[in-house]
């Protein structure tokens, strides 16, 4: 992969069905999704979020991820100059594959949340032998 100069991605504010009822702003985390034969990997950028403040739910083939920011870390800080805003992160995906609920794993490193969603056995493509 060539290394180009990195541009800033303006944070996208959450605007979708199922809007939040609280006034605070939510942001949509930048996400990569890739698929292997046996699993789907979802990689999300949630800078500043603690491990304990991440919530991942899977229901009705919808994957909900909510990552909350601990604003108390900013106690006593008076902004002087800003280029970005902060807020909780929230995103929902409709999954087209059957996922094994029991086998979802999550890891959080350097503000990057990696979810590995194992497909249920029947959804794994099988190679059919031709006799």
């Amino acid at each position: 992969m060539t290394e180009q100069a990195l541009q800033v991605q303006e944070k996208k504010e959450l605007a979708q069905k199922g809007e939040k009822t609280v006034p605070a702003r939510y942001y949509v985390p930048a996400t990569d999704i890739y698929e292997a034969d046996d699993a789907l990997t979802v990689v999300m950028e949630v800078p500043g979020v603690d491990r304990k403040d991440v919530e991942v739910r899977l229901e009705n083939d919808e994957l909900h991820v909510e990552a909350r920011l601990d604003v108390s870390k900013y106690d006593g800080m008076e902004p002087l100059y800003t280029e970005y805003n902060i807020g909780h992160f929230s995103r929902t995906f409709s999954l087209s594959q059957k996922i094994d609920q029991q086998q979802i794993t999550a890891a959080l490193d350097d503000g990057v949340l990696t979810l590995t969603l194992k497909k249920v056995q029947e959804a794994v493509p099988r190679r059919i032998e031709i006799k």
Binding site: Q7, Y34, G48, L80, Y81, D110
Partner: protein, 141 residues
């Protein structure tokens, strides 16, 4: 505290509004290079000191280099994204690449005491104001 209890959402919302109001404020004057370049920076005051905070998700300590010269702070590094082989990409929103930007602060900084921390994808640089630059209360005779 002024209230018996505070709603954390209220706190966040008020803080978000405060951050919005200072979007690219004049405080740094011409002291910021490459506005709109990565990483986006927020500058705060905490007591007498200045804290520069940047969001650098996916950038580890080893991929970052922070340099200070006088009042200028240089933040450079590389953001890498590892893709596994044998997968098909459905969605690609994260970006990778090099970055390099410099901020010049309009105050005097004690270069010896600058500290930087990088945790959970947040880079925080603590810049203590130089003792001789701190405002002094003048006694009125």
């Amino acid at each position: 505290m002024a209230f018996a209890f505070t709603d954390p959402f209220e706190t966040l919302f008020n803080f978000q509004q405060a951050l919005d109001q200072l979007r690219a404020s004049a405080w740094l004057e011409a002291g910021v290079s490459g506005q709109g370049a990565f990483p986006p920076l927020n500058v705060f005051r905490k007591d007498h000191d200045i804290v520069v905070i940047a969001e650098v998700p996916g950038v580890g300590k080893e991929d970052l280099s922070i340099e200070a010269k006088g009042n200028a702070i240089r933040i450079a590094g590389t953001k890498r994204i590892a893709f596994r082989d044998g997968t098909s990409v459905h969605r690609r929103e994260r970006r990778n690449g090099r970055f390099d930007r410099t901020v010049t602060l309009p105050i005097e900084v004690d270069a010896e005491k600058i500290k930087a921390e990088c945790r959970d994808g947040i880079l925080a640089i603590f810049l203590p104001r130089a003792e001789r630059d701190k405002p002094r209360a003048i006694a009125i005779n």
